[in-house]
Symmetry: C2
């Protein structure tokens, strides 16, 4: 049975840019599960299946509703144990949390301050006031002020990727010789950025960019086929 | 049969401060293997069993000589598969590399710039000229200049621990509900700092400090019993 997933969309209904939704879409593909996505906007909190926390992804699998990308990954691993593992064992599951915490405190935070104005530009018109107000409040600055010196901040952002860079220099994927959920967590952040911004954050010769290319090739180019900028 | 391990010592023979040696000592204890350490100084490159790269740890296990902490962990996991796993599966082993790369590019780099002068102070007298010359060359500054503003740099260092902090806030160990090699990699860096410096890098209420306390309690207080500063 096809799984339904509520997926953040921009002004263009096909432009899907939530890093958390990308984690889940890649995880579903990894498990070989068919999914039908429902485009959703920030201001449509009432349309989500319950329970939810007013955010996507939310999936419906038969009579199960699961919300939150981390809960979805755990659910898929337990519900579909005979399909390829997302974690590669108990150790992998625990350490995936470290990768996720790095992604959320370093990578996504850094990217956000580079592309937040581009997100606003791609938001559906009904979402724009909500997005600007909520983000400017949390940033204590206008979106324009946050990004105005982004070119100058790029070297620092790139340096912050050193743990990832050294890893994918030495093995094909964060998870080793083949990709798993830790890769999808990190990749979700890059796919988010490239879905809404033509500001290329990775230099051409960066091993992180080569890894991103390998991720874009997965599942018959699932992420590469989606509307986005650059390679 | 007892394993022999060459272990970096300071001016006091019992002060063992190499982060890489601490990784291996904790890994040996995790596997329940008896070890006899041989104190070693930076300038005793000729005394190491071969093959080696002029650095410790080096272990001798029967007729096997293994050097480099990462190779030692892999060796122990393969040679003693029936003892508690250091990685918790293939996924865990691969993701441990990410934790290690974070430790080496963020944590150890940050700590080094806080405590490098304290390392010099604790070096054996025959090691001091070598240590100062090699480190000042790589830092392009005197050891005194590197640490002179360390108090001011502490907030930035503490912020760099966010991925670790968020992880050990939510689970007892980096590796989940019980410790494994990823914990020993991260812990080795903190044990290195506390072995040679009374400059406390963690505030009392930091979840990272609580985790460090749990690590110090392991194996009947193996690391807590060693000569060091603070808790």
């Amino acid at each position: 049975m096809t799984i339904t997933m509520y997926d953040l969309a921009g002004a263009e209904v096909d432009r899907r840019f939530s890093p958390f939704c990308w984690r889940s879409k890649m995880a579903l593909a990894h498990k070989g599960l068919a999914v039908e996505t429902v485009p959703w906007r920030f201001t449509e909190k009432d349309t989500l299946p319950r329970p939810n926390r007013g955010r996507v992804p939310v999936i419906i699998d038969g009579d199960q509703v699961v919300h939150d990308s981390t809960a979805i990954a755990d659910y898929l691993e337990e519900r579909y144990p005979d399909r390829p593992s997302l974690f590669g064992g108990t150790g992998g599951r625990a350490l995936t949390r470290f990768v996720q915490n790095w992604t959320e405190t370093v990578l996504q935070t850094g990217l956000f301050r580079l592309v937040v104005l581009d997100i606003h530009r791609h938001c559906a018109s009904q979402d724009k006031p909500y997005f600007r107000r909520s983000r400017e409040e949390s940033l204590s600055a206008t979106l324009e002020d946050v990004v105005c010196d982004r070119q100058a901040r790029l070297p620092e952002f790139r340096a912050s990727l050193n743990p990832l860079r050294r890893t994918v220099e030495r093995q094909d994927f964060v998870s080793g010789s083949s990709p798993a959920y830790a890769d999808y967590v990190v990749f979700g952040a890059f796919q988010w950025a490239r879905a809404i911004s033509d500001f290329e954050v990775l230099p051409a010769d960066d091993p992180v960019r080569a890894w991103r290319g390998r991720m874009l090739d997965l599942f018959d180019g699932l992420a590469r086929r989606a509307p986005a900028y650059g390679d």
